[in-house]
């Protein structure tokens, strides 16, 4: 590898690595939103996934046990959201916010109980990058895409699978119909609330998996509130990606790049305070949500409580 492109490779590889947990969460959110549910508890699911992963991996010494625990923890938060928002018919925004806040409190409590005052925190064995033989030696593309931890490859497969389910299966059709016109869907025998529950819980599991990726493939430990709004960024990614699996994959990369940019700029030692670059992803999220992304149409029934 020539020395001149090394910074670029580093930047792009970081963009992919940082984008991975975001894409997991966004993939989950796209399922929920296409089914007509705006799930703000995705931030809570991610955070629960982080803690589940840290405890699971710490206790077992196996990072994959941690990944599985993260998945389950994310699903549990989503199940709580589904119970409140879909079955008890509380406003989705309020229910999602409440579940996220509850998750912040509960994860903090469990974490302190688990570490019981130790200062070392939960040390975990992380997932190492897995170079794919042959592919990883392609110039530029190889080190960027094919020398990543396993969850990065898996998220590619997950997004492809979600695309297939949404557009090629009857289940996906029913899910989209539930999100566009719940009344019409019900007239055709679709069990709207059941399908929404399924989409939300699977989505929460994916967000939990994203949180687990953050712990086990990036940070290596748990800290309170460590997701720092990544779940909300995932919601912005869904908007920017126009509620389409391919779109959210690109949007997640863009957000990953915006975050990675701060390292590049810090390394360049510019006169601009580094805090400015920390703001970049959030500014991008704001821009996405205010429609810089162009005129896009959300599912017609998004956020509407179904009777």
């Amino acid at each position: 590898m020539s020395g001149s492109i090394a910074p670029l490779v580093g930047f792009l590889a970081a963009a992919v690595r940082i984008g991975t947990p975001l894409l997991w969460a966004a993939a989950g959110e796209v399922l929920a939103e296409r089914a007509g549910v705006i799930n703000l508890s995705v931030e809570g699911s991610m955070l629960a996934g982080c803690l589940g992963a840290a405890i699971g991996a710490h206790a077992s010494g196996n990072p994959w046990v941690g990944m599985a625990a993260g998945l389950v923890a994310g699903a549990i938060i989503a199940l709580g959201f589904a119970a409140v928002a879909i079955w008890a018919r509380t406003d989705q925004i309020i229910a999602g916010t409440a579940l996220t806040m509850a998750s912040v409190g509960v994860t903090g409590l469990i974490y302190r109980q688990a570490t019981s005052g130790q200062v070392t925190g939960l040390s975990v064995i992380t997932l190492e990058p897995l170079a794919i033989p042959g592919l990883h030696s392609i110039p530029l593309l190889g080190p960027v895409l094919f020398a990543q931890p396993l969850p990065t490859y898996l998220v590619g497969g997950a997004v492809l699978f979600i695309w297939f389910v949404l557009y090629r299966t009857t289940l996906g059709l029913r899910l989209r119909a539930a999100g566009e016109a719940a009344g019409a869907a019900r007239a055709h025998g679709v069990r709207v609330r059941l399908i929404q529950t399924g989409a939300v819980v699977v989505g929460g599991a994916l967000a939990g998996f994203g949180g687990a990726t953050l712990v086990l493939a990036q940070v290596g430990t748990f800290a309170e509130r460590m997701t720092a709004g990544r779940g909300f960024i995932a919601i912005a990614i869904v908007v920017l990606g126009r509620w389409h699996p391919a779109g959210i994959a690109l949007a997640a990369l863009l957000f990953g790049a915006a975050t990675a940019l701060q390292y590049v700029f810090q390394a360049m030692a510019l006169a601009v305070p580094y805090q400015f670059f920390l703001m970049l992803p959030y500014l991008l999220a704001l821009a996405a949500l205010t429609g810089v992304a162009g005129r896009v149409r959300a599912p017609a029934g998004l956020g509407r409580t179904v009777d």
Partner: protein, 471 residues
């Protein structure tokens, strides 16, 4: 003759209202069975029970001699029962193919042309072929004209390939030619081994294709039997409990000043201008420009204007708000309840209560959510609200669509009375008979141009103008 569908002593209550009280109904193969009744008589509810959308409080549903319990429409479809609903059940943002796939519940039937051959009668496939005319699998439903959407509804009902078809006022949204074509298709479907329940308000339809007719009134069966030997006044009396009425107001021949002028159509006070047009010729936009809903350069219209839109479920009421709230929403400035920035809710509610009586709107009271009213009663409410502000100009688009005989008579009568009192009334209806019976003057809109119809023109001459055969 074999009975394919039997409903035995079905009862259903919604809160304190008894929608159905021990209603029995049966359908035999090869027949078109008409189901008549006023708005709120329980026709739709009865068919929703037969289709598994509503669970009855008491009674049995028997399909082909086997008592069944439908938990959802899926169960009904599995036994070959298809339904065309009063409101469209297609997803507007999806394609025709996706909607058929949704209705069938399995991939492969999405094109609708081929389906499980074992369950499709020959009449079914012939019907299906005719319904496909003018539809393409990749059309986005929201871009289709209303007639095509209605044909898609029937294709959806047949998507799993059944021989029992329940239709809830399928012709309410269709133009006259489309209506007669659809009725012929249904007759053909029944003759080929199917069975059809047709909910309708139009007695002409009953007499043209129906074999047997059942009349419901206030949740009970009034009469059931062969249509042969029945009369219009007999059926009407069974539906509403009173005989047919004649219009009481003679339209005056001394016209008032021009109150509205837009795009070459000028309307004077005391006249009812009937607009005849085939769908998609620009009448929709013209009516909206006259009503001020769409911007119009050079339009001269005297306020206040009342607009009664065709699609009352999206342009009319907010289902979650109460009747009084909906009422005030359109009439917030009325001095009877406006108290500066505040509202005298008690006064508004009292008036709402009065209106429910005047227009005989069946509702739980002024505080009931608008969404709890049946379609026809919602229409009456919107109509009442539009006329409440004593408009100088009234623009009505299919004002009696979906209304029963009694309510239709009522609405037409009110329009005539408003004209007699000096208002300028413009009525567009896709039902040419309605236009002819209401209008004191007739215009045709063809390819966005307004054509004057000479007095005494024949139906054929008007039809020729509508299709643009003459100038």
């Amino acid at each position: 003759m074999s009975r394919v569908l039997e409903l035995e002593s079905i009862s259903k209550r919604f809160g304190s209202v008894a929608a159905l009280e021990s209603v029995s109904f049966d359908l035999v193969l090869g027949e078109v069975h008409g189901l008549l009744g006023e708005n709120g008589a329980g026709k739709s509810t009865l068919m929703h029970v037969a289709f598994g959308m509503i669970a009855a409080d008491a009674g049995r549903v028997i399909v082909r001699g086997v008592p069944t319990r439908f938990r959802s429409p899926r169960d009904a479809k599995r036994l070959g029962v298809g339904m065309v609903h009063q409101h469209f059940t297609s997803v507007p943002e999806m394609t025709v193919a996706e909607n058929l796939w949704l209705a069938a519940g399995r991939y492969g039937a999405e094109a609708g042309r081929r389906s499980d051959s074992s369950t499709v009668t020959t009449a079914g496939s012939r019907l299906r072929r005719r319904l496909w005319e003018g539809l393409a699998p990749n059309d986005i439903v929201s871009s289709l004209p209303v007639g095509a959407k209605q044909r898609l509804e029937i294709l959806q009902a047949l998507a799993v390939g059944g021989d029992i078809l329940l239709l809830d006022e399928p012709t309410a949204v269709l133009a006259p030619q489309e209506t007669s074509e659809l009725l012929a298709l249904l007759r053909d479907f029944a003759n080929g081994g199917g069975a059809v329940v047709l909910i309708t308000h139009k007695l002409t339809e009953v007499f043209s294709i129906v074999d047997r007719v059942t009349v419901l009134r206030a949740g009970r069966v009034q009469s059931t039997g062969p249509v042969a030997g029945q009369t219009v006044s007999g059926l009407t009396a069974a539906m509403v409990g009173t005989a047919d009425r004649e219009p009481t107001v003679e339209t005056s021949d001394s016209l008032g000043p021009v109150l509205a002028r837009v795009d070459g159509l000028a309307v004077r006070g005391r006249e009812v201008v009937g607009v005849a047009a085939i769908e998609g010729n620009g009448q929709r936009d013209l009516l909206r420009r006259m009503a001020g809903v769409l911007p119009a350069a050079g339009a001269e219209v005297i306020e206040p204007v009342a607009f009664i839109p065709e699609d009352r479920s999206t342009e009319g009421l907010i289902p979650a708000l109460s009747l009084t709230e909906n009422w005030v929403l359109g009439l917030a400035g009325d001095a009877r309840w406006r108290r500066g920035p505040l509202l005298d809710w008690r006064a508004a509610e009292a008036r709402m209560d009065q209106v429910l009586g005047e227009y005989s709107i069946r509702a739980g009271g002024p505080q009931a959510p608008a969404g709890t009213l049946s379609g026809g009663n919602q229409q009456k409410l919107i109509f009442a609200r539009a006329l409440e502000a004593a408009p100088r100009v009234i623009v009505a688009e299919n004002p009696t669509r979906g209304l029963d005989v009694h309510a239709t008579w009522f609405v037409q009568e009110r329009l005539r009375r408003a004209a007699a009192a000096g208002a300028a009334v413009v009525v567009y209806s896709s039902d040419l008979d309605e236009v002819l019976s209401l209008a004191t003057r007739l215009v045709v809109i063809s390819r966005r141009r307004v054509l004057q119809v000479p007095p005494g023109a024949s139906r054929e001459a008007i039809g020729a103008m509508m299709i643009g055969a003459t100038s």
